[in-house]
């Protein structure tokens, strides 16, 4: 369900960019998805397709890059990745429900509330990469 909001936000943004940059057609959009956001890529792509038609953008070729989420503890300096801790944190967030709606899926920045540094336990850590869905670039043909 949350994928819908992300897709809508991206399509709204592309629409706005098309207006601002006077583009006739938008041909391609590149997205990057941080693993922390737990986005279902197939669902997102499907929704992007439906919504770009609904919002009058026509056919846009969406390219999606995966980005691993990396963290570094501000307290002890230890670094780790989402894939190293994912199973444990997801169990804590979702118990037995697979891919549940959880606060980190909605707002990845809340990871500090739900995870501690694997080495020292501190919740004070940086997200070095891959925390969000990002729209990296949009390509199109100008109107003139």
């Amino acid at each position: 369900m949350h994928e819908y909001s992300i897709a809508e936000g991206i399509v709204l943004t592309i629409k706005k960019l098309r207006e601002v940059n006077n583009l006739n057609v938008v041909s391609e959009a590149v997205l990057s998805i941080g693993s922390l956001a737990q986005i279902d890529k197939d669902v997102l792509l499907e929704l992007l397709k439906i919504l770009s038609t609904e919002y009058g953008l026509g056919h846009v070729n969406f390219l999606v890059e995966d980005e691993e989420s990396m963290f570094k503890c501000n307290y002890c300096g230890f670094s780790w990745s989402w894939s190293q801790v994912k199973d444990r944190i997801m169990r804590e967030l979702c118990e037995d429900v697979k891919d549940c709606d959880n606060p980190v899926h909605f707002i990845p920045d809340l990871i500090n509330v739900f995870m501690g540094c694997p080495k020292c336990g501190s919740q004070d850590f940086k997200i070095l990469s891959g925390y969000d869905v990002k729209l990296i670039s949009v390509k199109g043909v100008r109107n003139d």
Binding site: I6, G9, T13, F106, D109, L110, V113, K134
Partner: protein
């Protein structure tokens, strides 16, 4: 990189008529209490009201209104619905984190707030009230960047509080923000010295503009039950008419 949340925020606030931002710069002066009383009174007179609690470390609106903090937010098409308590729609970080502490540094806080702004589905509202944390940090800076609202400033009738709040008023003036009212919250039930207030505010606020909220015995009990305290009605109506 293009920030898609930016484009969603104005879309999501499209059907909100008026935004009132309650702040002080100072903590413990009654910001959240005033926000809730304002909400209850506006509800009483038939307005559709929402409260956005952006005190990310000390979120207290759900607690004040007696909402069960163990229930969590549910995703709907396009975002999350606020919960409705005593006829007021509320959105707070408590709906995501429950009773956990929220140790978040600046940049994270801005992002969290942008998510709350871009994903909360308020539908149509006559008033959206925003409850600020103390200070002039990320929550305030990000809010005023994205949301154009009018400000209600609150202080205690003490020199220290007026001192901090005066600087908050200066900051708002630097943004050319509209300040609807300065509220002096007499929560310690003392004789209010005009001198403290006149001296404190004369540079930045016409002193005639301040309104006094009296000490309200058992105010927490009223708010928990969703009842507007009678003693506050006069002042609140003046703010609403301002």
């Amino acid at each position: 990189m293009i920030e898609f949340k930016d484009y969603m925020i104005s879309d999501r606030l499209g059907n909100v008529c008026k935004v009132l931002i309650v702040g002080s710069g100072k903590g413990g002066v009654g910001k959240s209490t005033l926000t809730v009383i304002l909400g209850l009174r506006l509800r009483d007179i038939g307005m559709k009201v929402g409260i956005l609690d952006i005190d990310l470390h000390g979120a207290s609106i759900p607690f004040i209104l007696g909402w069960n903090t163990n229930t969590t937010v549910k995703a709907v098409r396009g975002g999350f619905k606020p919960v409705e308590v005593h006829g007021i729609k509320i959105m707070s970080l408590r709906m995501f984190v429950g009773d956990r502490p929220t140790p978040l540094r600046g940049e994270r806080k801005s992002e969290v707030l942008k998510y709350m702004l871009s994903l909360t589905i308020w539908d149509s509202l006559d008033y959206l009230l925003v409850d600020l944390p103390p200070g002039m940090s990320d929550e305030l800076l990000t809010l005023v960047k994205y949301v154009k609202g009018e400000h209600v400033v609150i202080t205690l009738p003490t020199k220290t509080s007026v001192d901090v709040t005066t600087r908050y008023v200066k900051f708002l003036k630097s943004l050319n923000s509209n300040i609807l009212a300065v509220i002096v919250n007499n929560l310690m039930n003392v004789a209010i010295s005009d001198e403290v207030l006149i001296k404190g505010f004369q540079e930045d606020m016409p002193t005639s503009n301040y309104l006094v909220i009296p000490y309200i015995h058992d105010v927490e009990e009223y708010l928990l039950k969703g009842v507007t305290p009678k003693k506050a009605v006069d002042v609140i109506d003046k703010i609403i008419r301002a």
